[in-house]
Amino acid sequence: MVTLILTIAFPGIIEMYTTVLNKSHDAEVISIAELLAVEQMEIIKADKAAGSAAGLGYAYISQANYSGVNPSAPFNAWSRTVTVQTYNAGGTFEYKLVTVSVNHDMISAVVLKTILINHEGLG
């Protein structure tokens, strides 16, 4: 009887161990994903702060300029994308919504968002 119970329980227990061990690693993966998202967001903000005189600035912030932004080694297991949406384009209240998303097989996407507005010319 004991043998029978152990045999039936075996696959379930193995599955439980596998799941627990995988999940226990998630925190570190999420934490690194968040750092990689911060890294990209800082680059975008630095580009915006550099201003148009440097060939960058607010106008430079577009999705096309951040198309290949996957993290370099040793963080190849994470992938990173940037989306830039412009609202009220050309109007008084124009702003850009920047979204940095970092993915990894083991976790849901880590997403950072910020809104950029054009300070240049405000003196």
Binding site: L6, T7, H25, A27, L35, E42, D47, K48, A49, A50
Partner: protein
């Protein structure tokens, strides 16, 4: 002549006919149960080992994040023009104090910085040849570095750290640019 009757009512004419477990059956059951118990105990030991290692790693990770965030937040506040020494192992910059005296505004500063020293990470204050150090992480870090990247006139500081927890690497990297450098 001895006549035996089993529970089913069948008659046997010898002791061999009596129902029960043979010694071979009992041995087989004991062996299988023993094997399963061995596998389970091994699983338990392995899982405890892995749990312990993950717990250690998690604690170390929290420590590294704390050091990382502390550095990033500090660096964000400064003007990169005030970086005096930036190398692979340290970043140093001025912290300004503004004060008014006799109607005039004066500035004073102390130089602070972060330095990788050996396999530790320290927060420094330049008062007497960097004797004042505040350890942030005492050991466990190696091959760590600061990297300065300049793009469009706004320098960025990339901080990369590698630590070894039970011989396994733990890496972190992020970037920040000093806010007072831009608009």
């Amino acid at each position: 002549m001895v006549v035996l009757q089993n529970h089913a009512g069948r008659c046997c004419n010898s002791l061999r006919c009596e129902e029960g477990f043979t010694i071979i059956e009992i041995v087989v059951v004991i062996v299988i149960t023993g094997l399963l118990a061995g596998v389970f105990s091994q699983l338990l030991i392995t899982s405890i080992d892995i749990y312990t290692e993950h717990n250690l790693r998690k604690t170390a990770h929290i420590d590294f994040r704390r050091a990382f965030d502390m550095t990033l937040h500090d660096v964000r506040e400064y003007d990169l023009n005030e970086w005096s020494v930036t190398s692979a192992s340290q970043v140093l910059f001025n912290k300004y104090n503004r004060f008014r005296s006799w109607g005039s505004i004066y500035y004073s500063h102390i130089r602070i910085g972060y330095v990788f020293s050996g396999d530790g990470f320290n927060y420094r204050r330049d008062e007497t040849n960097w004797n004042t150090q505040y350890p942030i992480i005492r050991d466990g870090i190696s091959s760590s570095s600061f990297n300065t990247a300049v793009s469009g006139g706004v320098p960025r500081i990339t901080i990369a750290m590698i630590a070894y927890v039970n011989g396994k690497p733990m890496r972190m990297r992020s970037t920040v640019y000093p806010r007072m450098s831009g608009q």
